[in-house]
Each structure stands twice: as C-alpha cells, then as structure tokens.
C-alpha cells in the first residue's frame, strides 16, 4: 500500500480510482455534484496522465447510450451522473442491465426536482432500484475510491455481468476532503486485470445484441438477470476479500454490522450519515444502552439474509434514509421489513425515518432522538413516516 495518504474530496477519490481502473471509454455530461469527477478526468486526459476515449456527450441519455455501445464492443467503460441526469437516463438504465453491460457509473446522490435542489439525498438512486443495476453506497471518500475499483471487478465478473451504480452522497461526500489512501497502480493491476469479456461484438463472430424477446422467451432472460443479481452478493464479498488481500482494506461485503450482536435497538442506514450514527452508538453504548448500527452497502442485490442475521437480537429497528416513497414510507424501511418477514417466531418492529432531504443536516441530536423514539412504545400506525427534523411546514 501507498504509505502516504492524500487529501482528497470524495469526487477526487473516485477520479483517482477511475484512472487506476483504466477504462477505455468514458462518456460524460455535467451535473452538480458529480461534475468534479469528470472534470478531473478531463484534466488528466488533457495532460496525458491517462489514456482513454473521453466523450463529451449531449445528454445523460447519450452518455449511457455511448458506454453501452462501447461495452458491447468489449471494452471497460465508466460514466457518472446525479439526480435529474440519472432520471434522464432511466430508459438506458434498464437497457444496460437487460443487455448485461458491465458499465460502472458513479451517482452523486442528489435531490430530485421539484422543488429544484442541488443538495444531497438518496431519492434519485432509490427511485431507480428496479432498473436492474447493482446499487452500492459508500460511507466516506476512502470507501468511494475502494468501491469504485471493486465495482469494476463485480460488474465484469462472469457470474454477474451487470452494470454497477456506486452511490456517493452529494456534497457531504463528493465535496468533502479527507485523507485517502490511493493504492499503487501495480497493486490495482493485480486486483483488476484488463476486462476480458465473455461476449462482445466481434468481426470474426458477428453477434446480434440488444434484441427483442416475446412472451415465449422474455421471462428466461429476466430469470438469468435476476440470478446474476443474486450471484452479485457472493461476488461482492469475494471481490472485497481479494481487494483486502491485495490492497489491504476490506469492508465485509453487503452489510456492515456495528454492535448488532446484542443490540435491542438497531439503526439501519446507508451512505455518509453512517459515520455520525456510529459515533452516537458509541456514546449510547458508553452509557450502557444496547444499540447497534447496521449499514447497508448494497441495496441491489438486497442482502436480506445478512440483514436477518444481523438483526437477530434486535426487537425494534429504525431505518434512517434520505428518501421517502410518498404515500407509503421510506423504501429502504419497506425492504428491511420485508427481509424480516421470514424470521421464525419473532417479529421485530421496523420504524421508517426520513431525514436529510435536499442536504438538510442530520445532527447527532437527531440520531439520539431516533433512538429515543425507538425506546418509546407508541407507534401510532404501521407505516407512519418519522420525519427527522423536517423544519417549518407552512400550511396555506
């Protein structure tokens, strides 16, 4: 490992990882807070630090479309986006997953209009959970770098062959500077050899790709795609272990459990807020409270079995997410509740907490209040959303 740490923002850490991953084609389109990733890459291309086909596209739809074309040719590809751009890609998201193109894309999590906002939350990516992409969530700049590299290995794994969307919280991660270990190129080359596709457009053996399949055959393709997602959970852990062996850091796969073994209350969350939750758990533990943190590093594949396992001791669970599915509750909360449905004999209570929308700060006090809420027996209705410090609501 490189001994020296560099002081990098989340986006700079991602850019460093992309450079190390050596994609042959990068297609870009600007949107805050993603843009500084592709600006950094452009600078390196301009100065000859990296060699790649760098494509300035005319929209996010085109950016993803271009990397699909490149991926169909069997080269490694990267793109990144955020919010409106991710939604603008939506057609291509399903397309890329159905076409089994192992594209890596970083999504800088950002609120979705209306109202307009450039600040961070997770409504953009969570709204695209059904697109078929693997969805990973990083906690800090170091993990953003490590997961970018791991994403290529996961996407290109022969048992997976699916696109990966790595989510990095807008501003709180993308624009926040931290000391980051940047691995050495030879180590990365060992961890991530050049992409060797199992199928591609080839002059010797021409292929038709991206075809139609009617009622007779369509389900079979969807079953294979579903299996590939399920395979990805195992592959995620293998890749993480291999990364640990070669680069010297690993994260334990799809979930990270913190004091959950004997926790009566567990806060389940994802992304950059996890650090603060961990701090609050430490404080509460020091005061004798049996509380834990379960951090989801992957929403697709959804690690249901590991969630069940990690929450075995917990009787009341608060799911904290920067997202809400209007008319129901937080989508991640619904998922966690679903995962616990099959628990034998015991049904822990899951409460949905929505906070941090459009970059609204979530404080340590807010997290202590979530814990206090979990300690209280009053839960009015089954699917009530608990709004974390929502601010003033003006009634007209």
């Amino acid at each position: 490992m490189n001994k020296e740490k560099e002081f990098l923002s989340g986006n700079e850490a991602v850019a460093a990882a992309v450079a190390l991953a050596r994609p042959e084609v990068i297609a870009v389109y600007p949107i805050t807070p993603q843009t500084t990733i592709v600006e950094k890459l452009a600078e390196w291309v301009a100065n000859g630090k990296i060699q790649t086909q760098y494509l300035n596209m005319e929209s996010e739809h085109s950016a993803l479309s271009a990397v699909m074309g490149a991926s169909a040719m069997g080269v490694r590809t990267f793109t990144s986006t955020s919010s409106q751009g991710l939604l603008y890609m939506s057609e291509c998201l399903h397309y890329a997953a159905g076409g089994r193109f192992p594209i890596v894309m970083v999504n800088a999590n950002r609120a979705v209009a209306l109202p307009w906002s450039i600040f961070g939350d997770q409504r953009d990516s969570i709204s695209q959970l059904e697109s078929g992409w693997i969805q990973l969530y990083a906690e800090n700049a170091q993990e953003a770098l490590d997961l970018t590299l791991q994403s290529f290995a996961i996407a290109e794994h022969p048992e997976v062959m699916l696109p990966v969307m790595l989510n990095v919280d807008g501003f709180s991660l993308t624009h926040t500077y931290e000391p980051v270990h940047v691995p050495l190129a030879e180590k990365v080359n060992q961890f991530l050899p050049p992409y060797a596709p199992t199928f591609r457009m080839d002059l010797e053996h021409p292929l038709s790709l991206g075809f139609s399949a009617g009622p007779r055959d369509n389900t079979a393709f969807k079953i294979k795609q579903h299996r590939a997602q399920l395979n990805a959970e195992k592959v995620l852990e293998q890749v993480d272990r291999k990364y640990g062996e070669i680069i010297g850091r690993s994260y334990g796969g799809a979930v990270e459990s913190y004091y959950t073994e004997d926790a009566e209350r567990t806060i389940v969350t994802l992304g950059s807020i996890s650090g603060l939750v961990r701090d609050v758990v430490d404080t509460l533990r020091a005061a004798g409270e049996k509380v834990g943190l379960l951090r989801l590093r992957s929403l697709r594949p959804f690690p249901a079995a590991r969630i069940r396992e990690a929450l075995a001791a917990t009787s009341r669970i608060g799911v904290l997410e920067k997202n809400v599915s209007a008319g129901y509750e937080g989508t991640v909360a619904t998922h966690v509740r679903g995962a616990l449905q099959t628990l034998q004999g015991r049904q822990p209570q899951v409460r949905s907490f929505t906070g941090g929308l459009s970059g609204r700060d979530i404080s340590a006090k807010d997290i202590r209040e979530i814990y206090a809420d979990l300690q209280s027996d009053t839960q009015s209705t089954e699917n009530e959303v608990h709004w974390v410090d929502p601010g003033v609501i003006y009634e007209s």
């Binding site: 494509l55 739809h61 085109s62 074309g69 490149a70 040719m73 038709s208 009617g214």
Partner: protein
C-alpha cells in the same frame, strides 16, 4: 447483353452472401432495401446500430436474427450516441477498416433522436448515419412524424372534415445536418440505387461523420401497391418532391438536376395517404416544391459565382 443475377451482383462489387436476410418486413418494404444495399456496399466489417422502429422490429426477434453482421438495437433516441460509443471502443481496440453505421427511421432521426445525432455530428465522430425515411412512425402504426409531408394523412393526422391530413411541412433534415458543417451529407432514394450506393461508398471513405437521408417508401403506411415501392421512390425524385443532393466539406451539389418535373399527381394519386387532397392543397405542395428548388438553385448559383 443481359447478365444473370449473380453476375450483376458481382459487377456491383457485392458479395453473393446476403447480410440482411430472413427478416419479417412487409412485402414491398423500402426500408429493408436501404439496409441491404448499404450493407452490401460496406461489406462485413461493420458494426450496426438500429433503434426501435421497423428495421429493428423485423430483424431482431429472438432467436431469429436477420443481420449477418454485428448489430444491436439502440434505444429509440440513442442511435447516434450508441454509434459514438461503438466507434470510441473500436478506436480504443485499434480496429482499422471498420464502419460504424446506423439505420434509423425518420421519427428516430428527425424527432426523438435529433439531439444525439446533432451531438455526434458536432463532434465529428466517424460514423455513418443512414435515415431511411418512410415519412411516418410506421412501426407503431403510421403516426405523423417531423418528416411527414404536408397533406399526408396518418393515424395522428387523419384526413378529417376540418383538417386534411398533416398540416405542417416536412422537416428538412438534410439542411439541418449540413448546417452543422458535417463532413458529408446526402439525400438519396432507393429508387435510384446506383446513386445511393455511390453515396454510401463516399460516406465510407469520409473522415468524419456522414449522414445519408434515403427515401424508402412503405406500402403499408402510404397505402400503395406493394410492387410500386421502387417506382414511387423514383417518382418522388422525378416530380421534384425529393431532390437528390450532397454536401461535401462545405459545398452543396445536386446529384440529379431536373429541367422539368413529372406531374406531381402521378405520385400522389397512387397513395391512399394523399387521396383526400383538394386541388388547392395539391397546388400548395407544388408551390412548396418550386420554392425548395429555387432555394437550392439560388444557393448553387451564388456559390458558383
């Protein structure tokens, strides 16, 4: 002296092996002719992108694939951007003497895909974009597109008592693309195959983006006899409604100049989509045509001086 078919094919430099075969297009489909001729001209070292539309619908129904070369359906809006990515990858792989070609309908080109097309042309990506123009959204059942001509009835611009078919003029994609300063652009018609083939060859030799807009009649959507496809494709040119033009590195040219036009009624009368037209509407089509030719000739005159 009449040559037999295989000799005629060989004389064109075409392979005896068909590269687009077994598709399920309607009888008399002009679009498939545009695809076949272009592929024969370009040869097997090609990568093809085809968006949603008739040419993909008839050629990619698993497990029966009609393309004998590398081919892929793109999203409806994403033909040009897919081609951009394919070309970038081919460059990264160091592939030489390969062509990256798209076959998109008029709706996929003039409407939903114009953004991606414009981007590719502006960047100068080395791709060949061929728009086969059947003048409506045929695959979804003959709806009006930006390339539907004035007066034509479609299912979304029907001939009613208040409105008589499509009320707008056809979007002039050749001009729009030429205005980008593209390396090469042309209009063509499957009714003039030699001219079309020459233009595809020229596109293949062009360093930069090429755009060919080829008129490709659709008996199903136009309401004409299936054996009239080639005939109508010629008539569209001979009546002056579809001028054959080129734009090469900043210079415009007419590929087939006409001193006189064949009567426009010969073209309109055999198509159900125009059957409702009143004399004054036909006069408007004639006036539009004359104005178009005047613009084309004036431009040539002014650049010749």
């Amino acid at each position: 002296m009449s040559l037999d078919l295989s000799e005629r094919i060989a004389k064109l430099g075409f392979s005896q092996k068909e590269l687009f075969v077994g598709h399920k297009a309607c009888a008399g489909c002009g679009g498939t002719v545009a695809v076949r001729l272009a592929l024969q001209t370009l040869g097997p070292r090609v990568f093809v992108g085809v968006p949603a539309g008739c040419m993909s619908a008839v050629a990619f129904l698993y497990p029966q694939m009609a393309f004998g070369v590398n081919a892929m359906i793109s999203t409806f809006a994403g033909t040009a951007s897919l081609l951009t990515g394919i070309r970038a990858a081919a460059d990264a792989q160091g592939l030489r003497d390969v062509h990256v070609v798209g076959f998109s309908g008029d709706g996929g080109t003039a409407d939903i895909g114009i953004q991606a097309l414009s981007g590719a042309v502006e960047r100068g990506d080395k791709i060949i974009y061929i728009c086969y123009d059947n003048e409506a959204y045929m695959n979804t059942g003959i709806q009006s597109s930006g390339a539907t001509p004035f007066g034509a009835s479609t299912t979304t611009s029907p001939a009613g008592s208040v409105y008589h078919g499509n009320q707008k003029n056809k979007k002039d994609m050749f001009e729009i693309i030429a205005a980008h300063g593209i390396a090469y652009a042309a209009t063509a018609s499957i009714g003039y195959p030699q001219d079309y083939i020459r233009k595809v060859k020229k596109a293949a030799e062009t360093d930069g983006t090429s755009y060919i807009h080829v008129l490709a009649p659709c008996p199903t959507g136009w309401g004409c006899a299936t054996e009239l496809t080639a005939e109508l494709a010629r008539l569209a040119v001979d009546t002056g409604l579809w001028p054959l033009q080129e734009y090469t590195a900043g210079t415009y040219a007419i590929s087939k100049d006409l001193s006189t036009f064949k009567p426009i009624e010969e073209y309109l009368r055999v198509q159900k989509r125009y059957r409702h037209l009143l004399p004054e509407e036909i006069e408007k089509i004639v006036a539009n045509r004359d104005h178009h030719w005047e613009r084309i000739r004036n431009r040539l005159r002014s650049t010749a001086n």
